[in-house]
């Protein structure tokens, strides 16, 4: 079962965020707020800045300028960062460890209560319980993605950041992920995810933001413009 967030929901606020790599702007004055319990999709072409923005939200990359904060976070931004689950492009798990060893390691690092029980629960949830003793190295792309998702959900985070999370998943896997995220959203977990095009996952979102060349060029909540942001119909 997907566990609802252990801490009170937290929002994410980007204020004038810029990221430069030398003379290249990855993000230009990005400002928006994801409210507590909101599910937002980030759309945009390759290189538009989605991944950089998600990595800044995960506090893995420091912005060149601007402010990132987590409104409503009990214990301040530092604590909010530790209550963040992040699914990135890479699976962020060790190839030389088994699925169970990987999840147990991260559960212990995150201070999850009853780590063994939580790991077993998640392995069943993502459909890898039978393969729990296999090295991650031997997994298919989809199975590796399931490990990545399970790792992000270990500590029942109040903020979920997902970078194209359905990559490598088969239709059943995508449906499972959609249902999981739906339950997380309904439990007031704040979700910010990047997607490509209109997908099963994007249907969960109540708001879509499009980035182009590192800047927010569209931000809408419902209706036809929501679809056009995802499908680039208005681009």
């Amino acid at each position: 079962m997907v566990t609802p967030p252990e801490v009170s929901p937290t929002g994410i606020r980007f204020e004038d965020i810029e990221k430069r790599y030398g003379g290249l702007y990855a993000l230009r004055r990005v400002s928006f707020e994801v409210a507590q319990g909101e599910c937002v999709v980030l759309a945009g072409r390759n290189g538009s800045g989605k991944t950089t923005l998600l990595r800044i939200a995960a506090r893995l990359v420091r912005p060149s300028s601007g402010q990132l904060s987590f409104p409503g976070a009990a214990g301040g931004s530092g604590s909010a960062a530790k209550n963040t689950g992040f699914v990135a492009h890479a699976i962020m798990a060790y190839d030389e460890l088994t699925a169970e060893e990987n999840l147990l390691l991260f559960a212990r690092l995150l201070g999850t209560s009853q780590p063994a029980k939580r790991v077993e629960e998640l392995l069943r949830e993502v459909g890898l319980f039978e393969r729990r003793d296999s090295l991650v190295r031997t997994f298919s792309r989809g199975m590796r993605q399931r490990v990545a998702i399970a790792r992000a959900l270990l500590h029942a985070p109040s903020v979920l950041l997902l970078d194209e999370p359905s990559t490598g998943l088969d239709p059943q896997g995508t449906s499972w992920l959609t249902e999981t995220l739906r339950r997380m959203r309904d439990a007031r977990c704040t979700i910010l995810m990047s997607v490509h095009g209109e997908t099963e996952l994007s249907a969960l979102a109540t708001r879509a933001i499009r980035l182009d060349s590192g800047a927010v060029v569209a931000d809408t909540r419902t209706g036809a413009s929501f679809r056009s942001i995802l499908t680039f119909a208005d681009a």
Binding site: A58, R59, L60, V61, R62, A81, K82, T84, F86, A88, H89, A90, I91, M92, A93, Y94, D95, E96, L97, E101, L105, F106, R108, L109, L110, G111, R151
Partner: protein, 224 residues
């Protein structure tokens, strides 16, 4: 408490992955063995000559081997971006360094102790009467090498010429350890062995200073 529990969990991971692959230990042991054998051809290892040159050669071999051993320390974390996962999970990033340097110290120490009898036999020196002191010097020296090496490995892993950068940065930085460890080992292998406290004190201070620096600034080394 979380620093301790995070460090032990990560140390467990380091040991498990190494003992599963045995990549580092095997390579390092073979490398040191080759260096010791090659060095032994360059002079006639009579007892007096060995006492003079042996410890220096031994520590040089350890340093070269360490620069090989420390290279994959942070490079391994780049394969699946696992360093990001660690940064998101640990309460204190120092735990990542502590676990890695503890594992590196342990691997180096195991390698050194396994090769000590080979060195004693090939270079015709008696180490048994001063074994406990030799182990202390090995420990302090290996700890210093591991602290500096782990920090530099984190830096070089993000650089473009990473394979070349680590030895280039590491070997000059470790010169003081090489000199102090060699002098202490020479004194211990003397005809009338004695403990050179000045050298041991220097190694201890080196370890404390570098460990404190790593504790203070280590977090910045992990950032992109």
């Amino acid at each position: 408490m979380s620093l301790f529990s995070n460090t032990t969990a990560l140390l467990g991971k380091e040991l498990r992955t190494e003992f599963r692959s045995r990549e580092l230990l095997t390579t390092t042991i073979v490398f040191i063995l080759i260096v010791l054998v090659l060095f032994s051809f360059t002079f006639d290892p009579t007892s007096d000559e060995s006492r003079r040159f042996g410890p220096g050669l031994l520590w040089l071999a350890f340093l070269f081997a360490a620069s090989l051993m420390l290279q994959p320390c942070f490079l391994r974390e780049q394969t699946n971006d696992t360093l990001d996962a660690l940064r998101l999970s640990v309460a204190d990033p120092f735990a990542i360094f502590l676990a890695k340097l503890a594992a590196n110290t342990l691997f180096l120490l195991v390698t050194e102790l396994l090769l000590l009898p080979v060195f004693a036999m090939m270079y015709n020196v008696k180490v048994l009467p001063v074994l406990h002191w030799v182990i202390l010097v090995f420990f302090l020296g290996s700890l210093g090498v591991s602290i500096a090496g782990t920090a530099l490995s984190a830096i070089s892993a993000q650089a473009r010429m990473r394979e070349l950068l680590l030895p280039l940065l590491l070997l000059p930085l470790l010169t003081p350890i090489l000199v102090a460890s060699t002098e202490v080992t020479i004194a211990l292998l003397d005809r009338s062995p004695y403990v050179q406290w000045k050298g041991i004190g220097f190694l201890g201070v080196f370890d404390v200073v570098f460990l404190t620096t790593l504790w203070l600034f280590g977090e910045y080394l992990l950032e992109e």
